[in-house]
Amino acid sequence: MADTAPLLEVAGVSKVFGALRALDDVSVAVKPGTFHGLIGPNGSGKSTLLKAIAGAHLPTAGTIRFAQWDITTWAPFQRARIGLSLKFQITAVLRELSVYDNILLALQSHESAWSLVWSRTRRRLDAQIMRALDRFRLANRANDLAGELSHGEQQWLEIAMALAPGPKLLLLDEPTGGMSPEERRMTGELLLPIKAECALVIVEHDLDFIKNICDHLTVLDQGRVLGDGTVREIEESPEIQKVYTSRV
């Protein structure tokens, strides 16, 4: 694993909003098949980094490479098409559409407009959609509106949407935000099996949750990388412990 070329390489990325330097020369590498956690106190730049990777923010400086492409200035739709998938921090399921149609929308994103007009893939995708829903325990809610789901179920639906097109790298921004402890446990259970399919970058405040599912952690503080290593290395770092005990 140590010799594998990184799937995602963030090199010297900075992001400035007016007088605020949200990211300052951040470098992170994510290897294929790994679960990579981004942790840090509030305002440390975790979500900004995730958005820069997904294309929501363009970096002020630095480069982002993904699967050998320099995607630093690519639009979000271009990044999604080469296998980068994002789950937003605030749930962004399409509330007026059915749960089923949310997944269909995610799955058909690579089809041409012409094919979509003729609905060429609607029937073919049916089984795939039901498998995706079943995996996230939403099969029995398929015909309900996404807006009728509980908060936890909406989070799962959004993860299912992000995962449906078969991404190479899944970016999850606080997937357990607002969930009950039981829902968090179930989310962990649902996420672990996807390691066989893609790499994961996850931003999460719940350290126990993130330690249980991640192989590698990057700690951010005030927009800078404070530490980077395996979960054990991070846990044993006195410098990082100091930041967490004083600021979290």
Partner: protein, 344 residues
């Protein structure tokens, strides 16, 4: 096979109100010429309503289904109307097989050119930018033809050559009514096919959250440009039919005034449905026709109309159709599971 808890029959049941309204409107349109055989003025009015309904649908494809605030829809309507009028005057040609496709092509190309500037930029354009851009296009075109003698300047073009099919001429009355009904039916069915397709699902998603769709891999601007161009084509058809039916086309038929009227048709009938603009057009045109004959109301009619629409926007934003059709039913379902009972 996986089981879905909610019985699909309940979904089918919710679709029936909208379908019932559609069938009712169709039935009314089919029997109207037979009931009004002796009233040419009312048949002419009904023909006009159907032609303007196509125009209303074209706006609703932009706003109600795709979230594109086109405040210049009359541009495509008016320019196509002028094009067929000029071809009739200068080339003495008005064969239906040539002029109607030409009018549609004019609307399509014009809308596509506008879409390139307004919608196909690197970043997703804001609603205000698109609204002002289309409004400006419409206003500029109106001012241009108002001062251009070749196209009749402020007087417009009148005595337009009658639309022909071989030696048959479409005159006001039953003949033109049938043509307008067939045109409306075709436009309606094509739009219905599109908005119920997987493409329509993209439009529904786009209307709710454009950004989410971009992160799913959709180039939202392309879907907007395609829909905008298609809507321009439909507006072009209605402009040509209007031009032939009225025997006149003027600067006011491509300006912000008519563009805003299309917004009113949709708001009153109900945006985000295809039958809503038809109902809204009929309601406004019938009220205008009925009330403008009453001297006491005539001069206040635009104010009354404005107040009615203000009340609708405030208290019934889903329009008249929203009284009988639920939001869920309006948006509909797009997946195979809603059509087949495999999971039910």
């Amino acid at each position: 096979m996986l089981k879905i808890r909610k019985p699909l029959a309940s979904c089918r049941r919710t679709f029936r109100a909208l379908l019932a309204v559609e069938l009712l409107v169709l039935a009314v349109l089919v029997v109207t010429p037979f009931l009004l055989q002796d009233r040419l003025d009312l048949i002419t009015l009904a023909t006009n309503i159907m032609i303007l309904s196509i125009f209303g649908i074209s706006f609703d494809m932009c706003w109600g289904f795709s979230g594109i605030m086109s405040f210049g829809q009359a541009l495509f309507f008016g320019v196509s109307g002028y094009v067929v009028a000029l071809i009739g005057r200068d080339l003495n040609f008005s064969a239906i097989w040539g002029v109607l496709p030409l009018a549609m092509l004019t609307g399509l190309i014009l809308a596509f050119v506008l879409a390139v500037f307004l919608l196909l930029g690197r970043k997703m354009p804001g609603a205000i930018f698109v609204a002002l851009g289309t409004l400006t296009g419409s206003y500029a075109a109106e001012r241009l033809v108002s001062g251009w003698q070749y196209v009749g300047a402020g007087n417009g073009l009148s005595s337009i050559k009658l639309l022909q099919l071989g030696s048959f001429e479409f005159v006001e009355g039953f003949e033109f009514y049938t043509l307008a009904l067939l045109s409306l039916l075709i436009v309606y069915l094509v739009c219905r096919f599109i908005v119920r397709s997987q493409f329509g699902l993209v439009l529904a998603g786009m209307r709710e959250n454009e950004e989410r769709l971009a992160f799913l891999g959709y180039r939202v601007q392309v879907f907007k440009a395609l829909t905008f161009s298609f809507a321009g084509m439909a507006a072009g058809l209605s402009g040509a039919l209007y031009s032939y039916h009225q025997g006149f086309i003027g600067p006011g038929n491509m300006g912000p005034g008519l563009s805003t009227t299309a917004v009113l048709y949709c708001l009153l009938g109900g945006t985000g449905t295809l039958i809503g603009p038809v109902i809204g057009t009929a309601a406004i045109e019938l009220l205008s026709y009925g009330l403008s004959d009453i001297d006491a109301i005539r001069q206040f009619w635009p104010v009354v109309l404005g107040l009615v629409l203000l009340l609708i926007v405030m208290f019934q934003p889903a329009g008249l159709l929203g009284l009988v059709v639920s939001n869920r039913e309006r948006i509909g379902s797009f997946g195979a599971s809603a059509r087949h009972s495999a999971h039910g």
